[in-house]
């Protein structure tokens, strides 16, 4: 048993905001103070702040696309080391920041065996991954036929067999359109003769996810990302959901209007106006940070567009029966007007959005930059002076084309905990995380308060994962392994034969040899119930 005594507790999910108290841990759980306290390891935590472990809702950390990205970033004598880390180092970097649960944002079912292997190598972290479904043959076929039962079974089958946690949709239909040489620009563009549209795909899958009672609703990467004027199509997508629950990811990239010269300018205010009152939706920001980044996405149209407008090299990989993925190296430069507008727009969005339990911190790693920049981003949110100082350094377009300079709001510590822990836990349906109440998983981060906010968040004084001290005074001691979080929704098992036949017809692999169809692959599997 461990006791953190005399600690200042920040636990917004339980409405505790800075109360001084003791936190008791037994095994891997937080427990109520026991009547007899003999033999407990007492940690004098007076003066420290304790918060639930950080939860990463959207980051690309594993699998074939990361392997491709690492190859793509290779240099003469070193990797672009700060950005694209190997799996074990990714886990260590997250734990050092006090993050204890991380989700990979896009797992191809066909390649899920590789993703799972990477996640397994991330010792100490609890991990999960979102299964890419929007280009899958069995899914598209069921939507075309308007067969809701088949669709639900197809989605549940893909999730269960690939070991996924949630359903990921990436600019749905983009793979189909790309092969046809078409540009997918609106929700109602016809994707084929069957009047299949992006709107139909999103609605059908969102509805199915709801009926499957998945802990996390659809995780949606919408269309027209990054383009000037994208805020309008983004808001149309929000409205198209018709009240169905969804998580929309890296939404900074959609907060763009056009100024009178056709240049990108912030439309964060308009976006916030549309989304703030829609309680069915959660979001992550996809904040950019200055420095190297890598566009890494299954939105092939986006990567090709970035290549054409920026003339940078790019790469893509097309996968049978699934669509594809693309990569393009980026650099966000402090004196570049576009980068400056993007940086300021992301912060503006975070500062305008009223509810930190619904808009979460992310850099869409590696798309917006490294996740290790979170402490710096937090410092810009909590410290108006630091923000203004940074704003003065970046290209003036950040002041001219966004309204960041006019915003006074400063995040409180509680709000930071909401956006990095309590909020994501709730959005992901993880009931035993994101809070410090009795029965919660003992994932805890402690900070020594200091005026240097960035340093405080970058260097927790103590991190506890599942009841084990994994970081103390800067020294990392990894636990043996983390859990693999997944779901097992109900589905019609008789349909598996049909799905396999569809795969057999459309791919070169015998379904009996699709690694992801094999059970028993996941060690330390933790199934989160569908309620």
């Amino acid at each position: 048993m461990i006791c953190l005594s005399g600690v200042k507790i920040i636990d917004p999910a339980n409405h505790i905001d800075g109360d001084i108290g003791d936190l008791w841990i037994e095994g891997d759980r937080i427990v109520a103070a026991p009547p007899a306290q003999d033999g407990a390891e007492m940690i004098d935590a007076r003066g420290w702040i304790a918060a639930p472990g950080g939860i990463e809702i959207h980051s690309h950390i594993a699998g074939a696309q990361m392997a491709m990205a690492r190859k793509f970033a290779v240099r003469e004598d070193r990797m672009d080391a700060g950005l694209l880390l190997p799996p074990a180092q990714i886990a260590q970097a997250y734990l050092k920041m006090g993050y204890t649960t991380v989700f990979d944002a896009a797992m191809s079912p066909m390649l899920s065996r590789l993703t799972q292997d990477d996640l397994k190598a991330m010792r100490g972290l609890d991990c999960g991954a979102y299964t890419l479904v929007s280009e899958q043959i069995c899914v598209v076929d069921a939507i075309k036929k308007q067969d809701d039962q088949a669709l639900k079974s197809a989605l549940a089958w893909l999730l269960t067999r690939s070991g996924g946690y949630a359903l990921k949709l990436v600019n749905p239909g983009v793979g189909l359109a790309w092969w046809m040489g078409k540009l997918l620009s609106s929700l109602d563009d016809a994707l084929d003769g069957d009047r299949l549209t992006q709107r139909r795909i999103i609605l059908a899958i969102a509805q199915a996810a709801k009926e499957l009672s998945l802990p996390h609703p659809i995780h949606l990467h919408a269309g027209n990302l990054g383009r000037p004027g994208s805020w309008q199509s983004f808001c149309e997508t929000v409205l198209a959901l018709e009240g169905l629950p969804a998580h929309l990811c890296h939404i900074q990239f959609y907060c763009y209007g056009k100024d009178d010269r056709g240049r990108s300018c912030s439309a964060a205010e308009q976006v916030v106006e549309t989304i703030a009152m829609r309680d069915n939706l959660t979001f992550d920001v996809g904040q950019i940070v200055f420095g190297p980044a890598m566009a890494l996405t299954c939105d092939l149209q986006l990567v090709e567009w970035l290549h054409r407008v920026g003339s940078g090299k790019w790469t893509c990989r097309l996968l049978e029966g699934e669509g594809g993925m693309g990569l393009l190296p980026l650099e966000y430069k402090i004196k570049d007007p576009s980068s400056a507008v993007q940086w300021a727009t992301g912060l503006e969005l975070l500062l305008r959005f009223p509810d930190p339990t619904r808009l979460f911190l992310s850099t869409d790693y590696p798309n917006g930059g490294p996740f290790i920049a979170y402490p710096r981003i937090i410092s810009w949110l909590m410290d108006g002076e630091a923000r203004q100082k940074m704003l003065a350094q970046v290209h003036p377009s950040a002041k001219l084309r966004t309204s960041l300079a006019d915003i006074d709001r400063q995040y409180t510590l509680t709000e930071v905990v909401q956006m990095t822990s309590a909020g994501p836990a709730r959005a992901l349906g993880l009931q035993d995380r994101g809070h410090l109440g009795a029965g919660a998983l003992a994932d805890i981060r402690c900070y020594q308060p200091q005026s240097d906010i960035e340093n405080m968040f970058a260097n927790p004084i103590l991190v506890i994962k599942r009841g084990q001290v994994v970081l103390r005074d800067g020294q990392l001691k990894l636990p043996s392994s983390g859990n693999h979080l997944s779901v097992e929704p109900d589905w019609d098992k008789d349909r598996e034969v049909i799905f396999k036949e569809q795969l057999q017809t459309n791919t070169t692999i015998d379904p009996r040899y699709l690694g992801w169809l094999e059970r028993g692959f996941h060690e330390n599997r933790e199934v989160i119930p569908c309620r």
């Binding site: 003469e76 180092q89 090299k313």
Partner: protein, 409 residues
């Protein structure tokens, strides 16, 4: 004599990783396979030799004694080299990298000789890859560029080309199966001129005047008559030197930028690496080859820590070979060891006995025959390989885990 047939077995022995092989087993040996394939026959050891004996590693009384001896040598080593080869599962390749990390050793794979050059070409130019299903389903023009399909990938043609949508085939210095001579254009180019040919194609693609041969014009015309096209390269061949590949990747990028058709590439990159060791190394360390671990962190130098360099310059004092490795470098190693066995130790964790009597050999079950795991197909898709039949003896996984456990104590 008991005989039985196993249907749809996955083959681990070339990077096509066919999953439609039927094999006949008689008295614990594979006696026939169908469809016939020389690579698979060799791998499944069809009526050739006995399965390796297990339970007694070389001169050692038991595998446990062998492990003890290996551990003793590892503990005494100043700079060990973990040399990861093919013929083992992807999981075991990753475990071998982890062992290197625990030992603060150097680690290399036979594929890394090419991998760095290719990876650099890819990093400098970008590339459009296509999986084999996409090739079969979409591609109407295929350009085989220096590929030895007939000898190294005997069933590639039958599985992915013959039943596909290909209308035009261009053969640039490739050995294709003679039976299906549907090639519309044969270009027997001197491999040393491949770079020049690609440069000319790039210029032609930019509508610049080039004094090219009629054959080159015919190639250009064939390429641009397509909707979807794919180049297939075999980087172990001279026609696919990394510098040439870089030019080819750029050509593909430029064709996609300037024309309506879409072009892709596919590397038969795992000639000496049928299960994907370079990928395993890259995933574990972030580098495509030749790494040295220093205090948990991987340092990369494609030359300084390569197996060949370390052995040539006697900078390693212990080589741990896991799986099958490049025979040329292996010969060098054996030469060194025979000269001075005290200077460089040699440990082999493989199903095949080592050529050198100086090696400590831990025989493990052969992958794809008595042992399973994941293999990466040439397009990167993971294929689960299952053991064809069970046999006594050690799994490589077990040996690596045991060693890692001993070393970390």
């Amino acid at each position: 004599m008991s005989e039985h047939c196993l249907k749809s077995v996955a083959c681990a022995f070339c990077s096509c990783h066919c999953t439609d092989i039927d094999i006949v087993i008689q008295d614990g040996k594979v006696t026939r396979i169908y469809p016939p394939c020389p690579v698979a026959e060799k791998g499944f050891r069809v009526e050739t030799d006995d399965p390796p004996s297990h339970g007694s590693g070389g001169a050692y009384a038991s595998n446990a004694a062998c492990i003890e001896e290996i551990y003793r040598r590892l503990r005494a080593a100043r700079l060990p080299l973990i040399w990861i080869g093919s013929g083992i599962s992807y999981e075991n390749q990753r475990s071998a990298v982890k062992l290197a990390k625990t030992l603060c050793a150097c680690v290399d794979t036979p594929a890394s000789k090419n991998a760095f050059g290719i990876t650099r070409a890819y990093a400098e130019s970008g590339m459009h890859w296509l999986s084999l299903g996409g090739l079969q389903e979409k591609v109407d023009t295929l350009v085989f560029w220096g590929c030895d399909l007939a000898r190294k990938y005997p069933r590639f043609w039958e599985r992915f080309v013959k039943n596909g949508r290909v209308q035009r085939l261009v053969n640039v210095n490739s050995l294709l199966p003679a039976a299906d001579n549907e090639v519309v254009l044969n270009l027997p180019i001197n491999p040393q001129l491949c770079l020049e040919i690609l440069t000319q194609l790039r210029l032609m693609n930019k509508n610049q005047a080039v004094a090219a041969s009629p054959l080159l014009h015919a190639l250009f015309t064939a390429i641009h008559a397509s909707r979807y096209g794919c180049f297939i390269f075999d980087p172990t061949q001279k026609a696919c030197h990394p510098v040439t590949l870089r030019q080819a990747f750029q050509l593909i990028q430029e064709m996609n930028d300037t024309r309506e058709e879409r072009w892709f590439g596919l590397l038969l990159e795992r000639g000496v690496n049928a299960t994907g060791a370079s990928t395993a190394l890259l995933l574990e360390t972030g580098y495509p080859g030749a790494v040295r671990f220093v205090e948990n962190s991987a340092r990369f130098s494609s030359l300084e820590w390569s197996a060949e360099y370390l052995i040539d310059n006697e900078e390693t004092d212990l080589v741990v070979q896991v799986g099958q490795v490049d025979s040329q470098i292996q010969d060098k190693l054996i030469g060194k060891i025979e000269q001075n066995p005290q200077k460089m130790g040699y440990i082999v964790l493989d199903s095949n006995p080592p050529v050198s009597a100086q090696a400590a050999w831990l025989p493990v079950k052969p992958f794809g025959l008595n042992s399973g795991g994941t293999a990466l197909r040439m397009d990167g898709l993971p294929i689960p390989i299952r053991p064809v039949f069970d046999s006594p003896g050690w799994e490589l996984t077990e040996a690596l885990e045991r060693l890692a456990g001993e070393v970390s104590l």
